[in-house]
Symmetry: none
Subunit: 213 residues, 4 copies
Amino acid sequence: MTPKQVDKEARRRQIFQAAMELYSQKGVARTTIQEIAEQAGIGKGTVYEYFDRKEDILAYMFDSIQEESEAIIAEQLTPSMNAEKKLVAYITGIMSFFDRYPADITEILLVFWAEGILNSPRNPADASTQSFDLRSMYEEYNQIVAQILDEGKQDGLFRQSLDSEAIAPAIIGALDGLMLQWVLLKDQIDFHDGVNNLLTVVLDGIREHEGND
Amino acid sequence: MTPKQVDKEARRRQIFQAAMELYSQKGVARTTIQEIAEQAGIGKGTVYEYFDRKEDILAYMFDSIQEESEAIIAEQLTPSMNAEKKLVAYITGIMSFFDRYPADITEILLVFWAEGILNSPRNPADASTQSFDLRSMYEEYNQIVAQILDEGKQDGLFRQSLDSEAIAPAIIGALDGLMLQWVLLKDQIDFHDGVNNLLTVVLDGIREHEGND
Amino acid sequence: MTPKQVDKEARRRQIFQAAMELYSQKGVARTTIQEIAEQAGIGKGTVYEYFDRKEDILAYMFDSIQEESEAIIAEQLTPSMNAEKKLVAYITGIMSFFDRYPADITEILLVFWAEGILNSPRNPADASTQSFDLRSMYEEYNQIVAQILDEGKQDGLFRQSLDSEAIAPAIIGALDGLMLQWVLLKDQIDFHDGVNNLLTVVLDGIREHEGND
Amino acid sequence: MTPKQVDKEARRRQIFQAAMELYSQKGVARTTIQEIAEQAGIGKGTVYEYFDRKEDILAYMFDSIQEESEAIIAEQLTPSMNAEKKLVAYITGIMSFFDRYPADITEILLVFWAEGILNSPRNPADASTQSFDLRSMYEEYNQIVAQILDEGKQDGLFRQSLDSEAIAPAIIGALDGLMLQWVLLKDQIDFHDGVNNLLTVVLDGIREHEGND
DNA sequence: CATGAATGAGGTTTCATTCAT
DNA sequence: AATGAATGAAACCTCATTCAT
């Protein structure tokens, strides 16, 4: 009565994985559906059974990465931590995402980033029609970090003169920028080292201590 | 050298400007030669008198931005400055580039970045055939900043424990990441503010002072 | 003969009805097998259990309409009628077909016609491979009407000068053309009115009466 | 300065002619752009320089036929004619269109008709988005003929009992239906003969004469 | 029998690039 | 030098049909 039983979601992931492989090698625009199908070992038409349009594969990537990264980061944060621990945990969480994500996450992140930039609604009016949107992602990240910084200020851990709203994007941005360079210059840069050094500098820079202010 | 040559270069800039306008609005892949020609007020065939292939316009953008940014940054640096002043001057130079570059540099920088990422040779072997290459650009930037940091260490201005090679990309990366967020969240973030805050934190974090180490 | 056969035929009708619904709304070319299956509330593969190819559904429509219309028309004609009565009965039979055919016959007739035109063998050589063929249908209709006209001439009811072979297609054609307009301009035209008026004019035009010829 | 000079409208006609040739042979849906290009002796891309979408070629056909037929019919009508002459002139005009239109008009008219039917807005609401619309065409034709009939009634040429609004579509429809049969049964039917016979019958049927009403 | 997942031929459309004028 | 008409490779996407379950 019932036909071939297929795990639709598994199939989607299979196609998605194949697409990511190619996207990270040649970019989205230069990868064809035909190639994705071949990479996945299925027919061209089958791709369209699981993704209505080529663009949807990209959207799936955005959703997928965003979900997973948020989960991993959240996992590291515990409410009982003090602000400094939270900041370290947050940043460590991001690193841990890189370590744990299956294969080639770095190359994929470049695609995520590059396409995210190209596809970001330039004027907020278009934002609603956009399925993936770096803007809102960064807004969220900034908010979390700013909260941690504010918490640290209230607890007397961080300097009172700190402008949380201005520093938060700088910290998030520093991680992004570092990651970019790591991906581009893998042979010259060690990401963990870079992050740890950054963390030391930043913490020393924001920590309340005698002789400051 | 001949007047004709000057003419040719002016024409190239005209086409380039038109292309940038469109690239920053819709991305490179979604902009056609036809549209660039229209925007420049010339015929489609004429574009090909000045750029052999569509890709060359992008290469021109990379060269143009790289040259100009290097010039502006160099302009701010004087050998007689001490390391801290140099670091401030370097970062201020980058900001000053944004302020001075003609129109819409922010949008164009996103394109510069996104396309740079997409087009960066994934394996160093391809690097030679690549006309624009973020890798080498970052290598250069890192080297300059690392040198300044080393200088500061030698002069006793910066902590001896500083890992210049590891911190340099973090500082460059922080600027990039901040810029990205600024472009995406122009309405929420002030770039000058962000950079100044970052600078304060970083300098405080790397500066040699009592009670450290 | 076996109960299964009846079942099969019922299923065919079910699919056919679903197809007609859609064909009359969007045309044959723009209707997919998938949609027909959905409309019929069955699976896509099941459609192929009852019709080997998409085209066969159309063929079924032609057969079905032709059979039914012939039956209804024949029902109205009695050998004992005189020629004028027969002509009226014939035309009334066509109207009665419209009235009695299940739902939306008008829209379906447009499809019947349009596809019949498109699929009619342009050169008689192809006629044999064609499963449905407006040509032969019109030949038959013309013959019937021409016979009635001839009968009327022999009986002195219709003018002797009448060219039956030339007038018959004009009468059949007039009904077709009127029907087309009725379907397109339902809000402006009343089909029964139109047919009755046509009948009056034609009968007056062909009837033998003093002062003619 | 100026490139190759091309008569754009002539080119459009050339492509249009090629398309018509094929459309009349195999129908619109079964004719590909590739085939049209080959038939026209140009490249596939060139077709798109002159028609943005395949559908536009069909729209061009509708406009073209409608314009030309209206011009030819109008040419035959003179205000000074009496109603009967006008009716004859009108119908003769339609015949004359067939005779004068370049090549294969009959086959093309089938396409015109079939596609017109398939594409006619089923509910008047869609009418505005439709570039070709049999509805409005028939409305116009009906109006012209109804006016002639009314004129004839006023002048005492046609019966007072005539329902012009009901008879007009029947007359127009009769011509259409006759034409259809002629195209399908060219070997058995002579169109001119058919029209003339139809005209005789109709005129006899509507003409005011003793013994009527 | 019924089903819908899988398929690929085939169609439309875009667009970088060439080249005659 | 400037132009835009012409081109066809290449991409996306649709959908009739098959077939394993």
